[in-house]
Symmetry: none
Subunit: 228 residues, 4 copies
DNA sequence: TATGAATGAGGTTTCATTCAT
DNA sequence: CATGAATGAAACCTCATTCAT
């Protein structure tokens, strides 16, 4: 998402053209716009972001934004789509190997926690979209069609755990996922207010590592069968 | 906060004056503005909210907003202050009686969960403020000075539990509080996107009750000493 | 004009009342308002001055401004009247003794120069009024009725000089007065732009003294009969 | 300055397009705005001038003012810059031929007097800027960089006069320039109040011609060596 | 494809002034 | 006399968007 090498990659692939932005590289242009817009929307919210400013930070002009994305809302939807595609793509490739269920669950949780912390823009976009009651998400067919494969992975782990007798039965995968998400999300989403009110640090490597293990522990303990 | 609209004027001691706003009732006017502004900012975010619209939904005029709150930002800060004061006031009066530690922790968690769900505007304002990196909160002396007594309550419960041998030692109160907050907050904050993506309901009494007990269970299991 | 002891004097004379501003001292209140308003109008011009700010810097309230001066324009007219009264009053008491004509003319010029430099607020008010094409001045009966006695003094000096054979004949007093005014006025009125463009100082005692003598010399040379 | 309105558009090279303002003629649009703004600021001062009114008198819209000049202050600075550029450009081309020093000085003075009287807007803008303590002028790099060549011209004339033995030595050019400016400026700047108080005319061709020669005479007499 | 110019609707804020007590 | 509350009109400025080239 925040990996900004997009346009660069496009340019090097297509031709040996100079980086003046004069190359006819629609995909590169679009990607460039999306990257800038992602940062702006994530930083200032939907209404707070300015089309002018997005355009200014772009290698192209304002006209192109409207050309490719129709209007501000279209741009925001595209940004959201990209953001969701990003995490879904990674979730799809998630490989927990053949770890024992508890370890697999722990790793899955830690992965989620790490992803959110590594992609604050994604988290913030989701916050923004929630402030807007998910209306854009609802309208985007592309997002609707994305397969949330993490659910399947989680389901498989959970089942194995129950089969192995280490997880208690009766827990719904979606609820478990919600717990994992909530604990991971909060660390990024509410960082500003929480750390200011409680005068604590939530960004240092140290505190992140500590919290990460707490979150994983919380999840595992919720699922694990009471020690025999 | 949001349940209080209009009641302000009723409370006016002077007379039983009608809600025409013509009475010289500064406090009532301010309260009225704050209530409306709370709803608007919560609904549309800081930039998305319109001073004009807030004024229109008020018993007074736009001019009064500037008279009492200086500018849009001042209004937002006042709204935030009110919102935080609200929860802090309630936390202060929180009484867990002399329940056994685990039950007390459970009840405390459920209380938090319930409060957030009963006050979505508060949750949304906190989201909005986080999108703005907590800058207003930081500037507000009033918020800074509020005592987050829930921490003390939680601390006491936890200590009792450790002393009683039912809670394991080594957990920091603040981390525990973060877990409780994260699980409660998510249910309101991410309701829109989560329920749309996973096609689930997060608002019905039934699902709320279910989730509430899951959250409490999650918290208690994290703290409880592994069953003998 | 800028002598701010007004309200104080009023208070001490009337009663031994405390300086709380609660004393019924209409004249003191009016004087206080006029002093503040003089500074504000002089500093920011008519449109730039704010009634609110004037009121705030006053010992009384905004209501009193409207009570005594009807509206902003009325206040400005009163300020102008005071300012003109001030200089006219002093001009009236001007005593050039029985100096030889040239010395008297020199002293008169220096007096004018000194007065303007000592009363920049007066100069600025005149500038402001000129930007407004003298409409307020025109409307003020009080100002219209003020006797510009400096003209008479100047006339007398000039006549003496002509009679004595030291001044050449044929000069109109008004023209002479204009020259004196122009040279004196400029030093205060155009101080900001002139000193900034030519990077020179126009406020130090030294440069004022130097300029003062130049101005006087200029005036005297214009009038004096070519040296024998 | 004020004589130039409309001519801008006519100068447009592209076509003989009508003055509808629909043509893409940025320079023309800017010039048009500047001309109108010059008149407005000169007439009503900085605070008294209304952006709305300026826009209305323009061939374009209010939005364009902000597009090209950022804000009201930016517009005022641009107006000031234009005004100062105007006089500096003319001063640069000033040619006193090879007149005898006294005649040259006289002509230079009359030129200044005439310029101010022909450009009351310039005079008034300088007054306005002085009321604002020259803050805009100070901030304008363009104005700071303008070369006040009239000083050089004046210097040359004065030196020739001293060399020729017709001017007395020891006078600083800047002081002489100040005298010339003060006498010329006053006639425009203080016209309203002075003529109203002394019930005299300062605008007729006749009185202008008379005053013009008085001013020149004043300047020359100040410099000239006492008759042989 | 690309760009700077242009735009109208609407946003926030301020002002002089008046009212109720 | 005195004060804080209230007001409507209008001020300055910004926004997403479209046009001309």
């Amino acid at each position: 998402m925040t990996a900004a090498q997009g346009s660069g990659r496009g340019r090097t692939k297509s031709t040996g053209a100079p980086a003046t932005g004069r190359t006819h590289d629609p995909e590169g242009v679009k990607r460039n716009i999306l990257e800038v817009a992602t940062r702006e929307f994530a930083a200032k919210g939907y209404s707070g972001a300015r089309v002018d400013e997005i355009a200014a930070k772009t290698a192209t002009s304002k006209r192109m934004i409207y050309y490719y994305f129709r209007d501000k809302e279209g741009l925001f939807v595209a940004v959201l789509e990209e953001a969701y595609s990003g995490i879904r793509r990674i979730e799809r490739d998630l490989d927990l190997g053949d770890l024992p269920p508890a370890d697999a669950l722990r790793r899955l949780t830690e992965f989620t926690f790490d992803y959110q912390n590594a992609h604050p823009d994604f988290v913030r976009l989701v916050m923004v979209e929630n402030i807007h009651d998910g209306e854009h998400l609802e309208r985007s067919e592309r997002i609707q069609s994305l397969n949330v494969s993490v659910i399947d992975v989680l389901e498989a782990v959970y089942r194995r755990g129950v089969a192995d007798g280490v997880f208690r039965a009766g827990i719904e995968t979606l609820d478990l996922h919600m717990t994992i998400s909530a604990l991971s999300f909060f660390n990024v989403a509410n960082r500003a207010t929480f750390s200011k009110i409680f005068k604590c640090d939530m960004r240092s490597d140290e505190s992140l590592a500590k919290r990460r293990s707490q979150v994983a522990e919380t999840v595992v303990r919720y699922v694990r069968k009471a020690a025999l």
